[in-house]
């Protein structure tokens, strides 16, 4: 019998007023799978990512995380969000807390871990993303790449079932993009379940098991990266790839 998929979306629809941002989205992500979502701006890929931990509510359809439907706002939802790690484009580290405090806040307050345990685990994670020496610094004292790596450590500290990345490198310059992608590739190789919204085609090619191409709020094509990049089935994907790979 197959394992329960970690994330399942069924016939998900969402409107922003008149704008139909997600149309009948069906997607299922298995444990250990890395799915990269690509597509032009406004195609709904970030919204898709934000709906999975209900930062955005959906208008119809179902989303299952770890086999259970997303509950309404409240304690239940908070518990579920603890299982879903989220990394934002703009890092969103807590500005008034040190890097270490950023990483331990969730485990201590949401999971009820003893402070010493959370601290030790946090230091391990910071070491793993290569910024252990910055543990007592404030976010504003770090480079963008370091901040994003701290944000990844913060999300990992919750021991999530799935990690969501919402354009994690779009606010970074090329050198910093590399240091963040290196961490992400490592996570992918270790079997972390990941849903990554990104314009980094290199990452999609090397780390993804599947590439999801979205346009106009719909999933247009789902394919393994080698097939998606060499012979995309849809006209729209061919057009998109020719534009972004032209340079």
């Amino acid at each position: 019998m197959a394992e329960t998929p970690v994330v399942v979306l069924e016939k998900v629809n969402k409107w922003f007023d008149d704008l139909h941002v997600l149309c009948d989205i069906d997607l299922s992500v298995d444990s250990g799978e890395v799915v990269v979502v690509v597509g032009p701006s406004g195609s709904g890929k970030s919204t898709l990512c934000r709906c999975i931990n209900r930062l955005e509510p959906i208008d119809s359809g179902t989303i299952l995380v770890d086999g259970a439907p997303l509950p309404a706002e409240g304690k239940e939802l908070a518990r579920l969000r603890a299982k879903v790690g989220m990394v934002f484009q703009s890092f969103n580290l807590f500005a008034h807390k040190t890097v270490l405090q950023n990483v331990t806040l969730g485990p201590v307050k949401a999971l009820g871990q003893p402070r010493a345990v959370a601290r030790e685990r946090a230091m391990e994670l910071l070491d793993r993303v290569g910024i252990a020496e910055k543990a007592d610094r404030y976010p504003a004292e770090l480079s963008g790449g370091q901040q994003q790596r701290a944000a990844i450590a913060r999300a990992l500290a919750m021991g999530p079932k799935v990690m969501l990345f919402d354009e994690p490198t779009s606010a970074l310059d090329p050198e910093m993009i590399k240091e963040v992608l290196d961490v992400m590739v490592e996570l992918a190789e270790e079997g972390t379940t990941m849903i990554v919204v990104s314009h980094e085609m290199g990452f999609a090619r090397s780390a993804a098991q599947r590439v999801v191409f979205m346009d106009g709020g719909r999933i247009v094509e789902v394919a393994p990266p080698e097939r998606f990049f060499s012979e995309p089935e849809s006209e729209r994907a061919r057009d998109f790839l020719s534009k972004i790979l032209a340079h």
Binding site: L55, N92, G106, A110
Partner: protein
Amino acid sequence: MVASFRVGPIAPLRAAATTYVELVRNCPLAVLFVFFFFGLPKVMGVYPAYTTAVIVLALYTGTYVTETIRSGINSVAGGQAEAARSLGLTFPQLLAYVVLPQALRTVVAPLGNLFIALTKNSSIAFTISVGELTGTAQRVGNATNNYHAAFLAAAIGYLLLTIPSGLLFGAIERRVAVKR
């Protein structure tokens, strides 16, 4: 706390907080003093004038503090709250550990203003014959017929209270400044 209700997800609390703020801050302080001093005994028994003055000043200043803190909450970037929610923090936790600590830092200066205004607003308690500074100056002026000296002394009295308050809030502001 009232500010938290104003931004919170619970509609009745939000409505109650808004009603309180809009009713109390839109009435002149002198009217509130007289209203509470003569009106309250009818429903709740007689309070001494001094107690009434303290209650009214607290209610009145509370509305301004509420709105100041609310604007501080709104000034905290939305991403901070989103990050807290995605870590699985509940709304009260999100306020207590992430949003309020940052919001309070940005509103130290306006809170200092309010504290000074509160000190000076106590002068209006003299409408209900509380023996505060302005009223005392009035009485001393009456008795000695030297209003200039009496009110000069009162002015110095206020300055002795308010200038150190201003300095204190300036010091707090420097102390808690967030690195950005």
